[in-house]
């Protein structure tokens, strides 16, 4: 036991002291925090305002474009004059709509001088034109009132789902996101730290130190020491990430509180020089409502329970696969040879990730049930299901089977590992691995 502790200690310290660990530990939260922060920054960052001069021969679009804080429209009657003004940097572009032969315009030309209008601007303009055109056709050609038209456009059913026992809303979107996110996180952790185990074994094997060590400790002790040591590295990194992310976000909130405000209604319309209509206020309210629900949904989830379950499935899933990774490391002489043995590990994990989309759509169906019970896929699929609420007995069953699975793979991999680490010079085949199992 004392020797295993020594091995764990070495495996842990030698990795935690590495530069790459420190860099990853710092970079991780910066990346995670930037996922939160960058959209806010982008939203507040004022892009250079584009002024588009509209020359409309049909007259349908005159004064109909809605200016935003990004694009501002002016109307010009003479194409040649507008084109002349273009190089003087008065306008970013000239939009020319010519009179079509069949009275419904289907073409427009954008002239620009130095910079091509971005794809966002282009799609905004073409969308706006379509709306205006439809609008125009419906109102003028089919005699539908403006009010009716607005009504048609606003038909949008929002389905609220509630749990009949708790009376709570179910916030499906948030649960979906959370489930997929934690499933992917587990997938990455298993691969990241599993590969570290494999590389560690290969390093010991190629540097031949393994023979010295197994003359002092049992191969199984060496393998478990390495696996546990790296698991602790993973936990350390995970906890540091959470702490650092939290720290970065809070300190930014204190330093620059305005960054975190959602773009305000008045800001959005200030630039437009156009007083927002009552409808737009309505829309804004609706969006705010959705935003509030999002926040409420985020608070609705039992994070304590989820983090505990996440840690369990992360650890147990890692342990299940780590010994397999270790046995692959033992079976080869260099990292280049690992490909052929990686497939059996990659397939169940990849399968779980692909199936998680399916499971999200039907989190209580038979596929979800079985995949979250079978140990090879359960770490990922169960994490996907957990935000939706899984019956306790299923969670216990899955956890129990995962632990059994871990014991089975460790026993199985330990045998391959024991023989493999002392075999030099030749690449093993699957048949040889089978023989090693029986030694």
């Amino acid at each position: 036991m004392k020797k295993i502790r020594l091995i764990i200690q070495r495996e842990y310290l030698s990795r935690v002291k590495k530069k790459s660990f420190i860099i990853m530990t710092i970079l991780g939260p910066v990346l995670m925090a930037s996922i939160w922060i960058v959209p806010f920054f982008l939203a507040t960052m004022s892009d250079e305002k584009k002024v588009v001069s509209v020359v409309d021969e049909t007259g349908i679009f005159v004064d109909k474009f809605e200016s935003t804080d990004k694009v501002f429209f002016v109307y010009e009657a003479d194409l040649e004059k507008a084109k002349e003004d273009l190089p003087k940097e008065k306008y970013s572009a000239v939009l020319y709509v010519y009179k079509p032969s069949n009275s419904i315009p289907d073409h427009a030309v954008m002239y620009y001088s130095d910079k091509s209008p971005g794809i966002v601007t282009q799609s905004y303009i073409s969308n706006a034109m379509q709306t205006i055109l439809k609008n125009n056709l419906l109102i003028s050609a089919h005699n539908i009132s403006k009010e009716d038209y607005d009504l048609i456009n606003r038909t949008n059913i929002k389905l609220n789902t509630e749990d009949i026992r708790t009376g709570k809303k179910s916030y499906t979107e948030i649960k979906t996101a959370l489930g997929i996110f934690s499933g992917i996180l587990i997938y990455f952790f298993i691969f990241m730290y599993g590969a570290q185990v494999m590389r560690g074994v290969i390093e010991e094997k190629t540097s031949r130190i393994v023979e010295v060590i197994v003359s002092s400790v049992k191969p199984f002790q060496l393998m478990m020491g390495k696996i546990v040591g790296i698991a602790l590295v993973g936990l350390t990194q995970f906890l540091l990430w959470i702490l650092l992310t939290f720290f970065i976000i809070t300190s930014l909130q204190i330093a620059k509180p305005d960054v975190f405000k959602t773009p305000k209604t008045e800001q959005a319309f200030d630039a437009g020089q156009k007083i927002p209509s009552a409808d737009q206020f309505q829309l804004q309210k609706l969006q705010n409502q959705e935003f509030k629900e999002l926040i409420a949904g985020l608070f609705d989830i039992n994070y304590g329970l989820m983090i505990i379950q996440f840690l369990f499935y992360f650890l147990a899933g890692y342990l299940l696969y780590a010994s397999l990774f270790a046995s692959i490391g033992a079976a080869v002489d260099s990292e280049a040879d690992t490909q052929q043995f990686m497939l059996p590990i990659t397939i169940p994990l990849l399968f779980a990730i692909i199936m998680s989309n399916f499971v999200i759509n039907n989190p209580d169906g038979p596929v979800a049930f079985w995949l979250s019970i079978i140990p090879l896929t359960s770490p990922i699929i169960m994490m996907v299901r957990i935000p939706f609420g899984v019956p306790v007995e299923q969670v216990y069953l899955s956890m129990g089977l995962l632990i059994l699975g871990f014991i089975a793979t460790t026993w199985f991999a330990g045998k391959i590992y024991r023989t493999g680490i002392l075999m030099y010079g030749k690449k093993a085949s699957y048949r040889e691995l089978w023989k090693w199992l029986k030694y």
Partner: protein, 306 residues
């Protein structure tokens, strides 16, 4: 008193037999040579002694007791393929490996300091192993192997990879350790390197022990009664004065001294040879040519092939 004995060890792998009924006895405070060509089964036997693998049949004894895991701390093992963690610092690593053998940390530190001072390598302590040359790494490995004061030291190809200066240093330390009570098992296919050090040997070929015993006894058994005579003058014609049964194997001159090799029949003694020469030649030297272990090795291995 044998420090280590192996009785009738058999080890089978799926496709082949690595050891068949091999027995060895290693006397205390001696150097035992485990000889044999590549693939004979030496490494399999060594791994069994180190309890890395278990034999299928046979028994092992350490100082009279059945070999068991508690003996691990009494055995030091220097494998043929030397290896250390490349990215780890020398001192840290030596400390780790010593602790794995059950030496306490302060004890290991004290001993490491002694050996590092002895080899004058204290300034390597904080270097990474990959920064050291191969010879330097070998020294570290040697220190690590003997640090826990093992009773039995197993060296696989002990001198491979060392330069002549370090080979001498190593030999000196091995003899020192032996005088202080350590017992050695050398495993090698390079006979000449260990011939002068070994007290006993066992020759293993194709999974079986084909020869064992004390080195000088084996040499006597295999000697061919060949003597070398050095004399003044140029290639004398021995046929003129040697008795019929004596066989001249060679006669070469260098400067004004010649050397002749003569095989005498088992009925004759070296004295008979000298007596027949004295009246005719001015003798400079006279000695018996003993077979080298290398010769015996090749002879025995070839015999088995036939």
């Amino acid at each position: 008193m044998y420090l280590f004995s192996a009785h009738n060890i058999t080890k089978n792998y799926a496709a082949h037999t690595a050891l068949k009924n091999v027995s060895i006895d290693v006397p205390e405070q001696s150097i035992f040579g485990l000889l044999g060509p590549n693939g004979a089964g030496k490494t399999s036997l060594i791994r069994i002694i180190n309890q890395i693998t278990a034999p299928d049949e046979g028994e092992l004894f350490f100082a009279g007791q059945k070999l068991c895991p508690k003996h691990i701390s009494l055995i030091g093992y220097l494998p043929e393929e030397r290896g250390l963690y490349k990215k780890m610092k020398v001192g840290e690593q030596a400390l780790y490996l010593a602790q794995l053998k059950g030496v306490s940390k302060p004890e290991a530190l004290k001993k490491l300091k002694y050996w590092f001072e002895k080899f004058d390598i204290l300034d390597w302590w904080n270097k990474k192993v990959e920064e050291l040359s191969k010879g330097m790494q070998q020294k570290i490995q040697f220190i690590v192997t003997i640090l826990h004061d093992p009773k039995l030291l197993i060296f696989d190809e002990p001198f491979s990879g060392f330069d002549p200066i370090n080979v001498n240093l190593l030999k000196e330390e091995i003899l020192n350790l032996k005088n202080n009570g350590a017992t050695f098992i050398f495993s090698t296919h390079n006979m000449s390197s260990v011939e002068e050090l070994c007290d006993n040997i066992a020759l293993i070929n194709k999974s079986e022990k084909i020869l064992d015993g004390k080195v000088h006894e084996i040499k006597n058994t295999y000697k061919a009664n060949i003597f070398e005579i050095g004399y003044h003058g140029y290639s004398a014609d021995f046929n003129n004065f040697l008795p019929q049964a004596f066989e001249i194997l060679g006669n070469v001159s260098q400067n004004d001294v010649s050397k002749a090799q003569i095989k005498i029949p088992t009925s004759a003694t070296p004295n008979d040879l000298i007596q027949s020469i004295i009246p005719h030649l001015k003798i400079v030297s006279f000695n018996e040519i003993l077979p080298t272990m290398n010769d015996i090795f090749i002879q025995k291995v070839n015999e088995q092939k036939i």
